[in-house]
Subunit: 253 residues, 2 copies
Amino acid sequence: MLTPSENGLKPFVDRLILRSALTEPEREALCALPYQAMCVAARHPVTRPGEISHHASFVAAGLVGRVGQTASGQRQLTAIHLGGDMADLLSVVRPGGVGALLALTEATIFRVPHRALRRIAAEYPAIAEAFWRHCAVDTATLMQWLLNIGRGDAVGRLAHLICELATRVGGEREQRLQFHLPLTQEHLADATGMTPVHVNRSLRRLRELKLMTIHRHYVDIHDWEALASRSGFDADYLAFDTDEEPKVRLLTA
Amino acid sequence: MLTPSENGLKPFVDRLILRSALTEPEREALCALPYQAMCVAARHPVTRPGEISHHASFVAAGLVGRVGQTASGQRQLTAIHLGGDMADLLSVVRPGGVGALLALTEATIFRVPHRALRRIAAEYPAIAEAFWRHCAVDTATLMQWLLNIGRGDAVGRLAHLICELATRVGGEREQRLQFHLPLTQEHLADATGMTPVHVNRSLRRLRELKLMTIHRHYVDIHDWEALASRSGFDADYLAFDTDEEPKVRLLTA
DNA sequence: CGCACTTTTGACTGTGTTCAAGTCCTGTGG
DNA sequence: CCACAGGACTTGAACACAGTCAAAAGTGCG
C-alpha cells in the first residue's frame, strides 16, 4: 500500500528548509517518509468536511482548495494549494479540524500517514519545529486573506490573490508574470468572497486598467508594480524571502 | 524584571489541557514560566506591526485585538483575545509574522520570554505539541472568520462574532447569554469588515428581530438558538467541547 | 460643566448581487 | 471534419445591501 519513497516528498523538504534549518539526517528522514500516491478528479473531495483523517495530503500536482461552507451551501475557499504544497499538515495535531479539501483540478495527492509524521516529529524536535513553523505561514496567509476580503474592493481582492499566486508559483526567487492557472472564475469567486459574475466584471476592469489579463486559464501580468500596489500586496507574509527572515532552529539551539 | 510566577499563567495551562494531555510535571513547568506583567492603555499597541518580538503576550485582563492594516489605513481585526488567552504563541516559531497586537481596552499583559517558551518546548515534546495544537485552534478560528466575512451578510457576521465571544467567555461548558463586552461599534466593524454606521444599523436589526441587544457594552442574547442559526454558528471549531475531541498526546504516544 | 468619544439617525450614492439571456470554448461522437 | 452538448464566460438591466457624508443626541470622564 505504502510506496517506498522515491524522493516524491523532496519538494516538501525544500519548502521546509526555506524557513527552517534542518540537518542532513533530518532531511533524509523526511524524504524517507512513506506515502501513498492517489489521483483525485476535479471537483472531488480530497478529505471530507469534519472527517477524522489519518494522513496528511501532499499536493504533488494539480490544485487543491481548502473550503468552508455555510448552511445555505455557499462556499468559501480558505486556501489554495499549488503543486508542491503540503495541504493539511495541521491535521497532524488536530485530525478533525482542517475542514474539507477539494480538488479544484485533477490532482495527484501523496497521502502521508499521521503516524509516520508524528513519529518523525517526536524523534527530531527540529522537524516538529519546522512543521509548526510551516503551519504558522499558513496562518499568516489566512490573516492576509481576511484583511484582503474584509477591507478590499473587488478589483483589489482579485489582484491580491493573483499577486499571491504569482509569487508562490514563482517560488523562492521572483514572482512569475505569466503562468497557467486552471481555475474557473467561479473558483476565483469562492476564494475572494464574490459572485462569479462580479469576478468576470472585475477581471475586465483589470484588463481595461492594463494591469493583467486572464485568458484561457493563462495569467498575464502586464504591470506587476501597479497590480501589487493596487491590491496592497506585500510578499513578506509568505516567508519566501529567506534573506529577511533567516532560517531558524530555535527549540534545540 | 521577570516576576517569579505566582500561578499567573494557570489560565493558560487550563486552556492547553482543554485540548492536550499534559502530565503533572509538565503543568508545573508551565506554571513556573517567568513573565513580566505590564499594563497597556486602550488604543495602545501591545506589539507593533512587523516588530520582531522576544516574548509572547498572555492577556491576563482586558481585550486585545490582532490587527491588519491596508495601505490606506483601513483596519481589520484578525482575532480578538479575551482575558486568559495567549495572544501570540505563534511568535515562538515566527517572531515577526504575527502582525500587530492592539489593546482594545485597558489590558494587563504577561510577557513570557520566547527563550523560556522554547526551552520548555524543547525539554517537553508534549508541551511543544500542545503549543502547536493551540495555534491550530487559532487557525481554525481564522478559517471560520474568513467564511463568515466572505459569505455572510452584515447581520449574520455580527451575530456570528457575538456567538463566538459568548462561547469563549463562557469557557468550557456553556455559552454565556449575558456578558460585558467593552468593544465599541467601531471595533465590531473592524472585526467584521463593515463600517461603524452599518454595525449600528445591523445591531438595531438584531434588536428588532429580538435576537440580541447590546446596551452600554453589555450583551444580552435573547434567543441563542435563533442567533446561532441566523449566523450559521457551530462551536466545534473552538475545540472547547472536550468530549468530542478527546485530549491528545500524539507525538510521544 | 465641558469636552471628547460613541451612538444614532437621515439622505444619498455606489458597489456588488441577482436573474436572465446569449456567446464562446472544448471535448465527444458521428 | 463537422455537429452537438455542456461548461464556462460575457453582458445587460434591475435591485439590494452596504458605504459615505453629515448632523444630532447620548455617554463618560476630568
